[in-house]
């Protein structure tokens, strides 16, 4: 049978994700200087050898690879996963990469009642989540999708507010912005393709229990 394939996210979640697998015995070397995007690793469990394929993928693409089944599993932040809206199983949060999806703006926005303000512009990398958040409150806003450095938008008048993920809050503070409302707490989570889960149930369950045990031990 083909080895299981797991998509790992480039960026800040890569190292903790890779170290999780190293902790389970895989020599996961992705992202360490080489430009390789795909490796096959083997680990020895008692007398058997297990193989797994690792893919290195942009975080936004992890849910795509997993939904299509090109990867059986993936590790991705819940913010990216929710934004993608992809239909996958989410059996296990991984306890790292904690952040919060936050509504933020300049200090002048603090205390404003947004129900009374028409034509609010909100810059974000998460247009779907932002739109849903405001719609749930019955507010109609103009969402301005940006790819990065969202903090810039309210500083130069492109938007009134922004929605972004925040860890320590330092970037916002350094740009003179304040957090106005926490929308959701997010962390890294394991996702599984629905068909792979059915066809490779035993292997996936085994992997899940290994990851769960590592999580309990406080890895990474």
């Amino acid at each position: 049978m083909n080895p299981l394939t797991i998509a790992l996210p480039k960026g800040r979640l890569l190292e903790p994700a890779a170290s999780l697998f190293r902790n389970l015995g895989w020599c996961c070397d992705l992202g360490n200087g080489s430009r390789q995007l795909l490796t096959t690793e083997t680990r020895k469990v008692k007398t058997t050898e297990e193989t797994m394929r690792f893919l290195l993928v942009k975080p936004a693409d992890v849910p795509v690879y997993v939904e299509y089944g090109a990867a059986d599993l993936g590790i991705v932040g819940q913010d990216v996963l929710r934004e993608s809206g992809r239909d996958v199983y989410e059996p296990l949060t991984l306890g790292f990469g904690q952040c919060r999806l936050t509504l933020a703006g300049t200090p002048s926005q603090q205390g404003r009642d947004f129900r009374l303000v028409g034509g609010l512009r909100v810059a974000t990398k998460y247009p779907r989540l932002t739109h849903a958040h405001f719609q749930e409150q019955g507010l109609s806003v103009e969402v301005i999708p940006l790819a990065g450095s969202i903090e810039l938008a309210p500083l130069v008048g492109l938007a009134d507010l922004l929605v972004d993920v925040v860890e320590t809050g330092r970037t916002l503070r350094e740009n003179g912005l304040v957090e106005l409302q926490t929308i959701a707490a997010c962390q890294a989570t394991l996702i599984v393709n629905r068909v792979s889960h059915r066809l490779r149930l035993a292997e996936i369950r085994q992997l899940l229990s290994g990851l769960e045990a590592a999580k309990q031990r406080g890895v990474p």
Partner: protein, 428 residues
């Protein structure tokens, strides 16, 4: 330095997003699949229903989820009534059964094969127009009926020569018994969490709904209740202290009976019981199942029992059925290396004005061969060349007094009788 201008097709030559042409081998693949299914369904006693491609929008939305309703292509007739292209055959077959077939001997066994239309984002194996083949068994509410449907789904996938597929069998009646006392808005996040096997969310949703005791324990276990019949024993034990214990246990017993009957069909090695299968809760009332195969991230076939639908068309009839996505099946066929059907002619014939010539060509065609007659006035050498290029195994020419056949063995002279005898072997 050369500059290249990209040729842009005028709008006349473009297709709308999400639809495609099928021709040559792809068209043949599709029809081969349809023929295999049609034959299979007929052999199990099912008869075709061919409803119209469009109907009144309100009738096509009966039993349809909100997403499906939103995805329907709607238009108006000249009287301003809203019509829609079907997004699903089941409400149509339900209407036909309730209004035209209700006094036939029960149960009804119907099948359908045709296009359905959904204005959604196209994804693997499914465009905005895609082909669905399916069956409905109407008027029988027994484990035997459920087992027949599942066994037929398996037979259909085997008729399409798919390997390594698996069927997950669930029981919506159990989930309903387990959650009937929960109000809709409390149930929704619970069901979604189970559907995504999101254990963290499930716990949150159960806390918010204030669910405790064995109901909570069971709901927490549901995403993992996957396996063989042994999971039913565990579930029965856990269900004993539920408020709806007898309903829940009856549902499990029904599932066990279906599994037992599938053993008799000889198909249990393809089956996995899955009590966490909770999709389509508003629609399914009994068993549900999904067929998946390696090579595709989505199910190829899905179905179940839906006893509350046909009554909405005026007759309370039980029903169970499934739908199979032909494009998805074809994708898996290709990924599993199934060779394409041959569409090349069996023989290329030089054009000839002799009535005896064309009479002979007709007899070869009657024998079942695909015969192409040249209409460009090409000579034998040019035809032999063309045949080689196109992968056509043989060329035939009338020389004036005999037939000359050119194939990989070389050139041979043949009498009409000999030729006809050989032609029998070309398309066997």
């Amino acid at each position: 330095m050369t500059t290249t201008t990209k040729p842009t097709l005028s709008l006349r030559c473009q297709l709308p997003h999400g639809v495609q042409d099928r021709f040559l081998v792809e068209a043949a693949r599709r029809r081969r699949a349809e023929a295999a299914l049609r034959q299979g369904f007929a052999r199990w006693g099912y008869q075709e229903v061919i409803p119209p491609t469009f109907e009144y929008y309100e009738n096509l939305t009966v039993g349809a989820s909100a997403e499906l309703q939103q995805a329907m292509y709607r238009f108006f007739d000249h009287e301003g009534r809203t019509l829609a292209l079907r997004a699903d055959f089941t409400p149509q077959v339900a209407r036909v059964a309730a209004t035209k077939l209700f006094d036939q001997p029960m149960p009804l066994r119907c099948f359908y094969i045709g296009s359905v239309f959904r204005c959604e984002e196209p994804q693997a194996g499914r465009k905005r127009e895609f082909i669905q083949a399916g069956i409905e068994l109407i008027g029988a509410n027994t484990p035997a009926a459920d087992a027949e449907i599942v066994a037929l789904a398996i037979a259909a996938l085997e008729a399409l020569q798919l390997r390594d597929f698996q069927i997950n069998l669930g029981q919506m009646a159990f989930f309903r018994a387990l959650t009937d006392d929960l109000p809709g808005d409390a149930l929704l996040p619970i069901r979604e969490a189970i559907d995504h096997k999101n254990n963290a969310r499930l716990v949150e949703a159960l806390d918010m709904a204030g669910v405790t005791g064995s109901q909570r324990d069971l709901l927490c276990r549901l995403p993992d209740l996957i396996g063989g019949p042994e999971i039913l024993d565990e579930t029965r034990a856990l269900s004993a202290s539920l408020t709806e214990a007898s309903r829940a246990i009856a549902a499990l017993d029904h599932l066990a009976q279906v599994y037992h009957l599938l053993r008799a069909y000889g198909v249990v090695e393809r089956m996995i019981l899955d009590l966490g299968e909770v999709r389509g809760m508003d629609y399914y009332t009994g068993i549900t199942f999904r067929g998946v195969a390696p090579g595709l991230g989505w199910p190829i076939v899905s179905g179940g029992r839906y006893d509350d639908l046909i009554t909405q068309f005026g007759r309370p009839l039980a029903a169970v059925g499934f739908g199979l996505g032909i494009e998805r099946a074809l994708l898996v066929q290709t990924r599993q290396g199934m060779p394409a059907p041959s569409i090349a002619p069996h023989v290329l014939v030089r054009g000839c004005e002799h009535p005896a010539c064309l009479a002979l060509v007709d007899r070869i065609r009657q024998a079942g061969c695909r015969v192409e007659v040249d209409v460009l006035g090409q000579d034998e050498a040019a035809l032999v060349n063309q045949a080689r290029q196109r992968g056509i195994p043989r060329t035939l020419c009338w020389t004036g007094d005999h037939w000359r056949l050119t194939d990989e063995k070389g050139k041979r002279a043949l009498t009409e009788a000999a030729l006809l005898q050989e032609a029998e072997t070309w398309c066997s």
